[in-house]
Symmetry: C2
Subunit: 324 residues, 2 copies
């Protein structure tokens, strides 16, 4: 039986979404126990469930908490959840709280897997044809070496095999051109290393404009660039969505136009909806660490628990240790 530790307090919307997420998750998963960490008076809906243990934590780590501060915030639900994960050797920890705080705390407490020098945050992105693409690192680091990029390729491949069930993932490097010699110095060097080692499934470079057209299973990038990629895609999607809304609200004709055509736009919205992906996973540390979106709803938080469960069940940490 697996056990997942949940920081119930980090989400923007408060504990109601995490509590509901846990209850929904347990409805479809019998083979899992939950340790719910947070203000116990907010977790009463979880009481009495034999699969749930409640651990009281009086503080909530703020979203802007620094790596140093988080290690001192010992009464926060975030710190406590990670600490329980380590001390009781649980199978995974999930939080919708501060990304920086959660990642530093998890990295310091759980330590890196031997042979991996930098953890990477990986997230699936929706693509044009509906199949997801895993991109890493999307923001755990501020700079990465070529060797770290090669490690990311390895971790991304395993993630893709065990989360997307793709046997032979196609792996690409994010660059500013398709040719082998294009890229920042680290990207060029990583390209050489991946090519010379015949890295399984390595297909070369991909440009950011083609990254989401569905032909890549894994896209490897440094944390700084990956973060810019994530946020510029998000920004453009947000900008165009607000333009679409405005276009339909223009006058009475366009409003009727919306009524006639909204089904296609609903489909589009669903395809672009990141909630179903449940959040990002920190790969490379000794344990399954899942960062749910700060703006997660109950459905999204349930999906984050599902991702953690799946990663733990497939024992991805052992696979990474073996370097498979």
């Amino acid at each position: 039986m697996l056990t997942l530790v949940v920081d119930c307090m980090g989400s923007d919307a408060g504990s109601s979404v995490t509590v509901q997420g846990i209850l929904d998750f347990l409805k479809i998963n019998n083979e899992c126990n939950i340790i719910a960490v947070g203000k116990k008076e907010e977790l009463t809906l979880l009481e009495g469930n034999p699969k749930i243990e409640i651990v009281d934590a009086r503080d909530v780590a703020p979203m802007t908490i620094s790596p140093l501060e988080v290690m001192r915030a010992r009464e926060s639900s975030l710190y406590k959840a990670v600490n329980i994960m380590r001390e009781r050797k649980c199978d995974g920890v999930i939080s919708a709280g501060s990304t920086g705080g959660f990642l530093s705390c998890a990295t310091i407490k759980l330590k890196m897997i031997e042979g991996i020098s930098r953890a990477a945050l990986v997230s699936p992105f929706p693509t044009k044809d509906g199949t997801p693409t895993a991109i890493l690192d999307i923001g755990a680091s501020n700079e990465n070496t070529a060797d770290q990029l090669v490690q990311f390729a390895r971790m991304g491949r395993l993630y893709c095999q065990h989360v997307f069930d793709i046997k032979e993932p196609k792996v690409y490097l994010l660059s500013n051109g398709l040719e082998d010699e294009k890229g920042s110095p680290e990207v060029k060097e990583a390209h050489r290393l991946l090519k010379e080692s015949n890295f399984p499934g390595f297909k070369g470079n991909v440009e950011a404009r083609d990254a989401l057209d569905g032909h890549c299973d894994v896209i490897v990038t440094g944390g700084f660039t990956g973060n810019v990629f994530l946020k510029s895609s998000e920004g453009m999607a947000k900008m165009m969505s607000s333009m679409i809304k405005k276009a339909f609200k223009r006058n009475i004709f366009s409003k009727i136009g919306y009524l006639l055509s909204h089904k296609g736009f609903d489909d589009m919205k669903e395809k672009m909806d990141y909630h179903s992906y449940g959040g990002a996973i920190l790969l490379g540390v000794n344990g399954v660490v899942v960062k749910a979106h700060g703006s997660a709803n109950a459905y999204s938080f349930k999906c984050a628990l599902n991702v953690a469960y799946r990663m733990a069940k497939n024992d991805i940490v052992s696979l990474l240790k073996k370097g498979e």
Copy 2:
């Protein structure tokens, strides 16, 4: 009287768009001469115009030409145009040909302005509220130092003052967080340098997701990251546009819906249309160098000529030399 040199052959659509672009440009600008370089049999429409000199060039540099190859392609319209610009001390050179080839040829032939160690490619981006944002470097370099980022801030500020007519541009650094200490090592250092020198209009970091919401006049970034920003924004815009088309083509109702609401979507298309921006400018070399889009149409090419004209008239190169 200013003189602009035009490579008439580089565009994807051939010389017809560049020729038409030149004719349209001259209709609105009397105070400019054009040296048109290309296969003379394709430039017959330009013959007999007292403002136009035609220079025959038999070769067309391919889009994939390398920096080394371009310097040997002496019969290409691209090389010839840059060479004429230098030898006859013209006021600007415009090409819709190979970005890499054009930039290397221009940098080598025209040389860098003293005090500037790296040229930057700058382009305006459409934003949510319609005002443009200038982003640089979007791809001239593969890596940049903190000092180079500071130079980009200086060049971007001047560009914004003289192309957008904004007296006190708001200048931001592209980073992975708003806080001063966020970013890659170079970005953090550039932040410190800009802040400590009280760089005029420097407002701190901006995240990629907010870059196009209209509050930034200039966004400074390294060439590799800038290129990822440009192309991921482009990619997401392309993906959503194709989804919008699909949503409207879904069935007979959605098609009627389109007829009722298309005006708002036409506006949106116009706002997002990069053609009116005319292309990217290479700042930092001794001369006005404008790279028109490879997929430029006649209108877009005319706009590129306009941008070059404006930059030359404002003598941006002297301003950059003075370090104003």
